[in-house]
């Protein structure tokens, strides 16, 4: 299903992500998934949170650049080949994947996928 992901621009420097997590913590927003993309100078924190509107508002108020994007959140079996099955469907349908992050626990895996066309991706994955 399509879910909202909160992204924040940050410089690649000591303590900068701490500012973001502190800001969300104070606003009472919980982070349920997180991925940090980094380059030499800057990074992007991508987060799935329980209230993205409240989170975005709090971060903007604190002066951060915030982006809300549609991503695909899905649950697949925690088994060899399960991810390939998902990617094969998307590739066959011509949907490009920009990035993925995920983890598995207790027999199933949770994935977040950023794709070129989220709606088309949902149809293909049904």
């Amino acid at each position: 299903m399509i879910i909202k992901q909160l992204s924040v621009f940050l410089e690649n420097a000591t303590g900068h992500f701490l500012g973001i997590s502190t800001c969300l913590g104070k606003a009472g927003v919980n982070i349920s998934a997180l991925s940090l993309a980094e380059t030499a100078e800057y990074g992007i924190a991508r987060m799935i949170v329980d209230d993205e509107k409240k989170g975005a508002e709090a971060l903007r108020e604190a002066g951060y650049n915030v982006n809300l994007a549609d991503v695909i959140g899905m649950n697949i079996p925690d088994a060899p080949g399960a991810l390939s099955e998902v990617l094969a469907k998307l590739a066959a349908g011509g949907v490009n994947v920009s990035y993925i992050y995920g983890y598995s626990s207790e027999g199933s895996a949770n994935l977040v996928l950023k794709v070129g066309d989220p709606e088309e991706a949902c149809k293909l994955l049904k």
Partner: protein, 423 residues
């Protein structure tokens, strides 16, 4: 006033000024004697080149009142330069000097279309800096309603704009931009504000920055030019034609000189702006080198004013960075950034040297509308900025994107350059 009439007036006033400084200021008498000229050798403005120059260093060397042509008892106010590039200098004014000052500022405001029915919010700093009191006295002379807001406390500035219905804002262009941003953040539609005219000066700014301020505040923005050593704001001002600033040349005789040879440049060419006082009493200066780079246009203006126009100041000769042998003005970088919507109009220029090679880094904030969760897209923005800067400056620039609001917003003059080179 016709050109001949102006030349006659300037010549007569120049003769008086030269005689006064020769007899009352030992500094100038010595300099003129060294060159071998006497007041009688200056018959008119055509002889201006015979006269010695005055530099900021001369003002420092004779600090505080060594260049004064009147006894201290005749001073009614003392201003000091803002010390952008070193220790401050003192500039005394006589009563007549202050009358001339306010007259020039009133003319400048009038040039921008301000009338006695306007409410002028003066958000230049009040104090030793001439911006606040200069604009204040000029607007008072014009008969407008003056709000002496001074700089800072931006939230309150916006309250004043709304509650007092200010129609004119006078401040530095970087502060105007900051106020515009704060207006947007407060969710106020600039069209609902009565503000209609901006009188901005005290630092170089680009035409693109003017467009950005005009859009952000819903106004027409005008250039008011001045420097404390010569008077303060009001030496010149742009008119509705927006093609140069009309100089109060009956008080300040302008020249444009080649920065290397100090000889006059060909008509209309760029060079260093130099002023000679024609009516100043307390501390008249001969050929004061402003270090501002501009040009003069004697063609008649469509607005009907006959006095000469100077071009918008493109930069200061001492602001100019020489990077790998290429001359770079911060204003060129600003022009590029303001044309690219992905960049916010806040930037910092960092010059350094790696081995024997100068490096130029431009730190800039990305506009949130173009912030993406994908690195590839942000790199496209960075590439676009780099390409535009490389092309405009003809040297390779490193572009660093920084977090929102990490570049300092300023209430006075902006500091845009950090030069780490140890030369």
């Amino acid at each position: 006033m016709g050109r001949d009439e102006m030349t006659n007036l300037q010549s007569s006033r120049l003769r008086t000024t030269v005689a006064r400084v020769y007899h009352n200021v030992p500094f100038y008498r010595t300099k003129m004697q060294e060159i071998g000229i006497e007041p009688g050798d200056v018959r008119g403005i055509e002889d201006i080149e015979k006269l010695p120059f005055t530099t900021k260093q001369d003002l420092r060397d004779t600090y505080p009142f060594g260049l004064a042509a009147l006894p201290n008892s005749e001073f009614v106010r003392i201003h000091a330069s803002s010390g952008t590039t070193g220790k401050p200098t003192a500039i005394p004014h006589s009563r007549k000097d202050l009358e001339m000052f306010s007259e020039c500022v009133a003319r400048a405001l009038c040039c921008a279309g301000v009338t006695k029915d306007d409410t002028v919010q003066v958000s230049y700093g009040y104090g030793l800096f001439t911006g606040g009191l200069g604009a204040h006295d000029g607007a008072t002379k014009l008969g407008a309603t003056v709000i002496p807001a001074s700089g800072g406390n931006t939230r309150n500035q916006i309250t004043l704009l709304k509650d007092f219905g200010s129609t004119v804002l006078a401040c530095t262009p970087s502060y105007a931009l900051f106020i515009a941003e704060a207006v947007a953040e407060a969710g106020i539609d600039p069209a609902t504000l009565p503000l209609r005219i901006g009188e901005f000066g005290a630092e170089p700014w680009s035409a693109e920055m003017r467009a950005k301020i005009e859009e952000g505040l819903g106004i027409k923005a005008y250039d008011i030019y001045g420097l404390s050593e010569v008077m303060g704001p009001g030496i010149s001002n742009s008119c509705v034609v927006q093609d140069g600033l009309h100089i109060a040349e009956d008080h300040f005789l302008p020249e444009i000189l080649d920065t290397e040879t100090l000889k006059p440049v060909a008509a209309g060419r760029q060079g260093e702006l130099v002023f000679t006082h024609l009516t100043k009493e307390a501390m008249p200066l001969l050929r004061y080198r402003t270090r501002d780079i501009s040009s003069l246009n004697y063609a008649l203006c469509d607005c009907g004013r006959t006095n000469v126009r100077m071009s918008k100041v493109v930069g200061r000769s001492d602001d100019m960075l020489i990077i790998r042998g290429v001359n770079v003005f911060p204003s060129q970088i600003e022009s590029v950034l303001l044309e690219i919507p992905e960049a916010k109009p806040y930037y910092m220029i960092v010059v350094d040297r790696e081995g024997i090679l100068d490096t130029l880094e431009v730190q800039v904030e990305i506009d949130e509308r173009f912030f993406s969760d994908e690195i590839a897209r942000i790199d496209v923005v960075r590439g676009k900025l780099k390409h535009a800067l490389d092309n405009a400056l003809r040297i390779s620039v490193k572009v660093t994107l920084v977090e929102h609001k990490t570049i300092q917003r300023t209430e006075g003059k902006a500091k845009r350059v950090i030069d780490k080179r140890k030369l």
